[in-house]
Amino acid sequence: MESRSLALDDEHDIAVARNEVRRLAGALGFRIIDQTRLATVTSELARNVVKYGEGGRLILQPVSDHGGREGLRLIFEDSGPGIADLAAAMRDGFTTGRGLGKGLPGSKRLVDEFEIESEVGRGTRVTVVRWIA
């Protein structure tokens, strides 16, 4: 399946993104619990893009590994201010805005793979993968 891209410009796009991720996850054969995890992680990370990253996009990529395992990769990109202290941002309890500070570490617990790259002044990219159990 081809990868797709969704704009993340305003709050409404967050709801659109999580519904689209849930729909695709269901079509790919993810169980309900994993559909819920993916929709929730999308909501958390898309909100970061919209609120702190000045907007960006989400790329949805169905993937498979050499063992024939299938999954879904989600890439959240923004060209916002970036995160100066990534280690701090990944600690439970860290927050810059009105969030509960659960955003990044909480999101990491909902997926199998989690990678974050950020450059101050250039933007942030978070890539997550969940494999079909």
């Binding site: 709050e11 309900i32 819920t36 929730t40 909100r47 509960l100 659960k102 955003g103 909480g106 617990r109």
Partner: protein, 143 residues
């Protein structure tokens, strides 16, 4: 984009809020304000929020539920969240959300039972209950 309208029903001294649509952030904030103004307007003592149709609770919605409970408490009302789907509960725990100050029960009946234990509303509420619900009112009155 139009804000989804979520009804707020009053039964006895309880406000019932059935959330049946996926809420965007604006709808969430709007709902919070409406519940609080209905609490003030009606003098209700309980808020029962039915989230059985919600397929996801993220940190934003979780914080809304905690905030409503905290604000309602200041206005002398208790908040109960009912009907959380198992997948939603699992995800909430993994996310690290605690829903501070929010009581959660499995269904609307249990929600009423819990709220009624908190304050004696049986006489007044029973008059307003009809059919199925009036049976429930009598059960509670007996217990």
């Amino acid at each position: 984009m139009p804000v989804a309208r979520i009804p707020i029903l009053k039964v006895g001294r309880v406000l019932i809020v059935p959330i049946q649509v996926d809420m965007d952030d604006q709808t969430v904030m709007h709902l919070q304000e409406r519940i609080l103004s209905e609490l003030e307007r009606t003098g209700a003592r309980g808020v029962l929020i039915d989230i059985s149709m919600l397929e996801m609770v993220d940190s934003f919605i979780g914080r809304m539920l905690s905030d409503i409970a905290a604000m309602a408490r200041i206005m002398d009302a208790r908040t109960v969240v009912v009907g959380m789907q198992p997948a939603v509960a699992i995800t909430l725990v993994e996310l690290g959300l605690e829903l501070k100050g929010v009581d959660t029960v499995l269904n609307v009946d249990e929600g009423f039972r819990l709220l009624r234990r908190e304050f004696d509303i049986s006489d007044e509420a029973e008059e307003e209950f009809n059919g199925e619900t009036s049976t429930f009112g009598k059960q509670v009155a007996r217990s």
